[in-house]
């Protein structure tokens, strides 16, 4: 028997055919990009913590390897010690910069001062290698405004005892560290009660405008000189030594390990402060890293990517993150919504699960996924978090769209003798299409915004400039990410309005 397709010109193709075309289109693009990014190249991955010095040294390591002909990538500003350590152990990164004091206290969890050799022996057991110290000690320090310190006669940490009224702003990491605030306060019997937790870069602004009087800093921090601050003398020798070293997986290729060892002993404190200052001045870590090579070997300067290249890279990654996660949300959300529309215990469970997923703050969802096997610090994790996050609007709208179909029409479809699958495809889903599409649209717009957080775990996208701008306290850099993200959300919204006209059957738009 001949298949009937065109009994009249106004008979547009059955809806599911049109859905399929759009599905294919949506599916192919991000998938290609995704697989390509997974399989095309296997470069050495360098991680860095979320502060200037770590970024700069990450860039130095990258260029060192590149010049040795080893492909390397730098995942900038991935987070704090534990995140990077777990990423290194889990193999999501191969190299990152750490400090001996941090290794002893935070990773090996010991109160003793360990020698470099002791630390190396302990790390080897976990499959991690360590270079000799790079040459500078970046210990913690407490800093104050110079004029304020002079006025109050404060020179040492011990002097703080005389001024319980001072407001102290500390990074969250310092507040929690075993060699951080609590033991420090005990050791010096500090009386201050007015303690707040604040981001490192924002803390300098708070110090400058007087919202806080004392904050923690790193002794090689360029901001100390720049903001006319003084470090208080650690008269009890409380802070351990924080010699900078590179940690690497012992399974890393030999030439890369040799390259890292070559960096040992090449950076003293003065030089590191200069590089940090250069990074803050130019707002460009690559430029600062290049300064290291200029002085050392006088090689040519590579200026890095142009803004447009970066923008293209961010946009592509952002689309990949949001697009792929949206696709997953659609592919699982619609079937789940169909099941949920039938109500009952299963339906309530599905709606409950999707609802809970959305109440978890997106940042927390990312943080919760990172320690799980398979996830870790990766694009995969970001996409999974976004996918879970985007599920609710689609599930809920699919379910309510289907439930809103009048009983008389459901019964007409049954009484006609249409099989259940045909009822769903030809009648129920098209009738619910408006509601389903608006759920997808909501999910897409949320995803574009939330995807900026993916940069926190080094997954890139528009969050990358936003994060580094936040770190540098540089509004222009923040806007370089924020404006395209907002524009993209608008474009997506607009495209969906267009898609409505194609996908929602005309009979429902009258």
């Amino acid at each position: 028997m001949k298949r009937i397709r065109k009994a009249g010109k106004e008979e547009i193709q059955p809806l599911f055919r049109r859905f399929r075309i759009v599905f294919h289109f949506c599916a192919v693009l991000p998938f290609l990009i995704f697989t390509c990014s997974l399989f095309c190249a296997q470069p050495v991955l360098i991680g860095s913590k979320k502060f200037t010095e770590s970024y700069v040294l990450g860039e130095i390591a990258k260029r060192t390897l590149n010049e040795a002909g080893i492909p390397a990538e730098h995942r900038q500003g991935m987070g704090g010690t534990i995140i990077l350590w777990e990423a290194l152990r889990g193999g999501q990164i191969d190299i990152y910069l750490e400090y001996t004091g941090t290794i002893a206290q935070e990773i090996l969890k010991t109160e003793r001062q360990l020698s470099v050799q002791e630390i190396r022996d302990a790390l080897t057991k976990t499959g991690v290698g360590m270079t000799e110290p790079l040459g500078f000690n970046n210990t913690y320090a407490l800093v104050m405004r110079r004029n304020e310190a002079q006025r109050l006669g404060i020179r040492t940490i011990g002097d703080l005892r005389k001024h319980p009224e001072l407001k102290i702003g500390l990074t969250h990491e310092f507040l929690d560290r075993r060699d951080g605030w609590r033991p420090l306060r005990q050791r010096y019997s500090l009386p201050q009660l007015n303690i707040i937790g604040i981001d490192h870069a924002l803390g300098y602004a708070a110090l400058a405008n007087g919202s806080i009087d004392v904050k923690d800093a790193y002794s090689t921090d360029a901001k100390i000189a720049e903001n006319d601050l003084v470090s208080l003398v650690d008269d009890f020798d409380f802070f351990p030594k924080y010699d900078a070293v590179f940690l690497f997986r012992t399974s890393l290729r030999d030439d890369a390990i040799a390259g890292l060892h070559g960096l040992a002993g090449t950076l003293d404190e003065a030089r590191m402060i200069r590089l940090n200052a250069e990074a803050e001045r130019t707002k460009n870590y690559t430029t600062a890293a290049n300064l290291y090579f200029q002085n050392a070997v006088g090689s040519t300067v590579t200026t890095g990517e142009s803004f447009w290249q970066k923008l293209a890279r961010w946009t592509l990654r952002h689309l990949e993150l949001a697009g792929f996660s949206l696709l997953l949300s659609v592919m699982t959300g619609i079937p789940l919504g169909i099941v949920a529309s039938r109500g009952g215990a299963t339906g309530n469970m599905i709606l409950g699960f999707a609802g809970v997923m959305q109440t978890v703050p997106s940042l927390a969802l990312l943080a919760l996924l990172v320690p799980l096997p398979f996830f870790g610090i990766s694009v995969r994790t970001a996409i999974t978090a976004l996918f879970l996050y985007g599920l609710l609007p689609i599930v809920r709208n699919t379910a309510s769209g289907l439930q809103d179909i009048p009983r008389s029409l459901r019964e007409s479809a049954i009484a006609l003798g249409l099989a259940p699958a045909a009822r769903l495809w030809r009648i129920y889903l098209p009738m619910a299409s408006r509601s389903i599409l608006s759920g997808i649209k909501t999910s897409a717009v949320i995803n574009i915004g939330t995807a900026t957080l993916a940069a926190l775990i080094g997954a890139g996208g528009y969050g990358e400039p936003i994060l580094s701008g936040l770190n540098l306290n540089d509004h222009v850099t923040i806007l370089e990410g924020a404006i395209p993200a907002a524009l993209l959300a608008l474009v997506v919204q607009w495209s969906f309005d267009l898609l409505d006209r194609i996908l929602i059957p005309k009979g429902l738009r009258l």
């Binding site: 001949k2 809806l15 009484a415 006609l416 003798g417």
Partner: protein, 247 residues
């Protein structure tokens, strides 16, 4: 025995109350049987049980000699047409797509469908140029004609009509009544029609089935009901409708 459908001791109860007491009913081939009775007496329930939108609690329903079960109902539904008061047209499909929905699903040939469609348009006096419209672009009477065409598309042996004219204004209703009666006669269509209007029942019904509170009270011609009422309710029901008609 010339019954197309035979209900034997069919019952149905909803959570709080019985909707159908044990009910027997036979629907004769080629005739129009009219179900009539006060609101809530179980007319729609009976129709919905035949097409198995709801399953009976007990009793059997035979269709063309074989019992209707959950297993064979899908096939049998292709042999039964069903029209409800609001039409039940799908708003996202044009009139044509609504009518052809099942035929396409069963992969009938283009040619066959085109011929059948023109036949139906002529039969129901529906202008072919309106076939491209969506249900929302049609009047109530036009919608019911489309709904009827959809029900008749596969030439069903049985046509179930649940107050098909209930929502129409009197003029449209009168003209559709006339057309329907003509159609039934031409097709020699076995029809079970629900109405609560005695005049309509008398106009259509070869056989009238009067129901009350989930039971069949009397079955026969309008003359039978008028001249030989089975109990006081029958005369009461007929007189009530008569006095209304006088108004």
């Amino acid at each position: 025995m010339n019954a197309l459908v035979q209900l034997v001791a069919v019952t149905k109860r909803y959570a709080d109350a019985p909707a159908l007491h044990p009910t027997n009913l036979s629907i004769e081939r080629g005739k129009t049987t009219v179900l009539i009775g006060p609101s809530g007496c179980g007319k729609s329930t009976l129709l919905r049980i035949i097409i198995r939108l709801i399953a009976p609690d007990s009793g059997t329903i035979d269709f063309d000699g074989s019992q209707i079960t959950a297993a064979n109902i899908d096939i049998l539904r292709h042999r039964i047409g069903y029209v409800i008061q609001e039409g039940g047209l799908f708003p996202h499909l044009t009139a044509r797509a609504n009518i052809l929905l099942m035929a396409r699903h069963l992969e009938k040939s283009d040619e066959e469908m085109r011929t059948r469609l023109s036949e139906l348009c002529e039969l129901t006096r529906f202008p072919e140029n309106l076939l491209a419209r969506y249900p929302l672009e049609l009047s109530g009477g036009q919608r019911q004609r489309v709904s009827l065409m959809r029900a008749l598309m596969l030439s069903p042996e049985l046509l179930l009509l649940d107050e098909p004219l209930g929502a129409l204004d009197p003029l449209v209703r009168a003209s559709l009544q006339k057309d329907l009666k003509e159609i039934f006669a031409r097709l020699r269509q076995t029809t079970l029609l629900v109405t609560h209007d005695l005049a309509e029942a008398a106009y259509f019904g070869d056989e009238i089935v009067l129901m009350n509170e989930g039971r069949v009270v009397q079955q026969g011609s309008i003359i039978d009901l008028r001249e030989r009422p089975a109990n006081p309710f029958v005369s009461e029901f007929i007189n009530a409708q008569r006095s209304l008609a006088v108004l």
